[in-house]
């Protein structure tokens, strides 16, 4: 834009870049913006380097799969965190199974059926507000409504994570469906298809890339959550592959417990688990990016 302005030939008018203090001020502001970016990079780089350096030395095949989490005093070469890995995968996976279909349906309602109705607008707005509800509240909520009646279990943890994921999936589905052009819907209606059929066979496939990628990002966020789990799975140290009953464990809760332990063995297990957890989250995030790049037909 600057270039456009200065290329205009106009004799008698000074079109050179303003000098002196104005120019200096502009440069200071630009440098300030780059500093802001650098300020953000420092903690990110610092945390990633630390987790990789400390975690890599703890991680081994045995660490990831051994089914006994040893007592805190034992060094990291004993046992492993297998129960926590399985717990995280099971709990997060089941939460995704609950939240993704419901979230996609909710997004479908807001965009395809709700239109401009008050109810759809309210649901849309409240889903937005719900994304800001702290994760700890979801944990307490499932505790009061489920755990008090049916006891601690991995399932309760899944419910809490599903509550967190639901509004995110609804919002991202809604944003993606909005991008599907109406001409596609109209063409299908013209062929005599019902609304449900149009939605399922035309609109959703057209937006599938964005929907899947939004869902994967929601799962990535949920996989690292701790607060909703400590009230719902009643952290244990032993393997419990039964999601539906009994106390369970997860990588995030294990890190939370071990972070305050004075023993280096416990701390090393925390670093190893942290690296595992970050790796899971990053893989999901990269998968989301790949899906977006490969399958999205319409974008903003």
């Amino acid at each position: 834009m600057m270039a456009v302005a200065s290329e205009q030939p106009a004799s008698g008018v000074d079109l050179r870049e303003p000098g002196g203090w104005r120019r200096t001020k502009n440069q200071i502001a630009t440098v300030g913006m780059w500093i802001a970016f650098a300020v953000m990079l420092v903690p990110l780089g610092f945390v990633l380097v630390t987790v990789i350096a400390k975690g890599a030395s703890a991680i081994s095949w045995q660490f990831l799969t051994n089914s006994t989490i040893p007592v805190n005093v034992l060094p990291v070469t004993y046992g492993g965190v297998g129960p926590a890995v399985i717990g995280t995968l099971e709990i997060t996976g089941f939460a995704a199974l609950i939240a993704i279909p419901l979230g996609v349906l909710g997004g479908v309602y807001i965009n395809e059926y709700g239109g401009n109705h008050v109810l759809a607008r309210v649901i849309n707005f409240m889903a937005d507000v719900m994304t800001g509800v702290p994760s700890i509240i979801m944990g307490l909520f499932i505790f009061t409504i489920w755990v008090l009646h049916f006891g601690y279990s991995g399932l309760a943890g899944s419910f809490a994570l599903a509550c967190l994921m639901l509004p995110i999936v609804i919002r991202s589905t809604y944003e993606m469906l909005r991008l599907v052009p109406d001409s596609l819907r109209e063409a299908s209606y013209a062929l005599g298809a019902t609304k449900a059929r149009v939605t399922v066979t035309v609109v959703l496939p057209a937006a599938i890339g964005g929907i899947v990628s939004g869902a994967l990002l929601a799962v990535a966020r949920a996989a690292g959550e701790t607060a909703p789990l400590i009230f719902t799975i009643f952290v244990t140290q032993t393997l419990n592959s039964n999601l539906f009953s009994g106390a369970n464990t997860a990588l995030s809760t294990l890190i939370f417990q071990n972070a305050t332990q004075p023993y280096t063995g416990a701390q090393d297990r925390a670093w190893g688990s942290a690296l595992t957890l970050i790796a899971i989250a990053f893989i999901l995030m990269i998968a989301a990016r790949l899906v977006t790049a490969r399958f999205s037909r319409y974008s903003q």
């Binding site: 600057m2 001020k25 349906l105 309602y109 239109g115 109705h117 909005r178 972070a259 925390a270 989250a281």
Partner: protein, 329 residues
């Protein structure tokens, strides 16, 4: 937006008669399914409020308003005052916002005004990376790496400031600790930067091109253009983005629980240990098996829920209005 608002396209326009009114069962069923999934959001929000309030009534009934809003927290003697935790929540969130606001707006301006689009993309990826690092990992790093390192810096600052009037009330004091209000605020600032950045960027992106070009045509430098064209348009929206970040910072649990120092104190010294509402719930819930103690922690959750809902409602309303107005203009 779909065309359904005006006419249901499942019923072809112009073809009156029994055929058009009949909708297949599956079609209607799918609509009801979608509607119930949408309604689930409202149901969950209402259930959160109702069930948690129910479980916390004993706190309010045994302690009364004066007990709940007292500074006394001593579970062993059945004293459950929430004020130190409310104070800690507000202080840490405030520190987080004061740090995150300039950083986020700076990055948002960098992305929208300075860097060309193809270079903006990798920067956005890096910010997303920041958002995906789990809270508990920030906490682990905070307590084992950052806090011990900050301890010495805090000590130097505190001893350097003894006797300085205003600064020593905030950064001085005797009980300097690596795990403190300030450390928690720092970690929270890092954690809310991605969301504040992406919302600010969304708001700044709605500034009309005509305004920007107008400012440049008048000979403004980029910074003058930002001051004259970008600020007036996006100020309200950025306030909303900051409020949303504030809500996130207040509810952030695990990182705060690990690095805040876990002692319910009210002090102006930011380098001393403190506590916050989500942190105390997470740390003490396991021990809270007796009635009033557990009710107090759940009640603290209710207070937190109300606080964050109010903040989120107003923030979303502000951001939504400013984006809509910019698009409509």
């Amino acid at each position: 937006m779909s065309i359904t608002a005006k006419a249901d396209p499942a019923i072809p326009a112009g073809s009156a008669g029994p055929l058009s009114k009949r909708r297949p069962f599956g079609d209607r069923g799918f609509q009801i399914l979608a509607l119930s999934a949408g309604l689930l959001v409202l149901v969950i929000l209402v259930l959160i409020a109702v069930s948690m309030t129910q479980q916390s009534t004993t706190w309010f009934s045994t302690e009364g308003w004066s007990g709940v809003f007292s500074t006394d927290w001593d579970p062993a003697h059945n004293k459950f005052g929430a004020v130190p935790f409310i104070y800690g929540t507000l202080i840490t969130a405030a520190i987080a916002i004061v740090i995150a606001y300039p950083v986020s707006v700076g990055i948002a301006l960098l992305l929208t005004e300075v860097v060309p689009r193809r270079f903006a993309r990798p920067i956005v990826y890096v910010i997303d990376l920041l958002a995906v690092v789990p809270s508990v990992v920030w906490g682990l790093w905070g307590i084992l790496v950052l806090a011990p390192w900050l301890q010495t810096i805090y000590q130097d600052i505190a001893s350097g400031l003894t006797g300085v009037p205003v600064l020593s009330t905030f950064f001085g004091g005797q009980g300097v600790s690596g795990a403190s209000f300030f450390t928690a605020g720092l970690i929270l600032a890092v954690m809310i930067t991605p969301i504040v950045t992406s919302l600010s960027r969304e708001v700044i992106a709605t500034v009309p091109v005509i305004d920007r070009e107008g400012a440049y045509a008048l000979g403004a430098t980029r910074w003058e253009m930002i001051q004259g064209a970008v600020w007036p348009h996006s100020q309200a929206g950025i306030v909303g983005a900051v409020l949303l970040g504030l809500g996130r910072a207040m509810g952030e649990t695990i990182a705060a629980a690990l690095v805040i120092g876990s002692s319910p104190t009210i002090t102006t010294h930011l380098f001393s240990t403190g506590y916050s509402m989500p942190a105390v719930i997470a740390n003490q819930f396991g021990e809270a098996t007796v009635g009033v103690f557990r009710a107090a922690l759940i009640g603290m959750g209710v207070l937190l829920f109300i606080l964050t809902i109010i903040i989120n409602l107003s923030a979303r309303a502000i951001v939504g209005r400013s984006v809509r107005r910019a698009r409509g203009a």
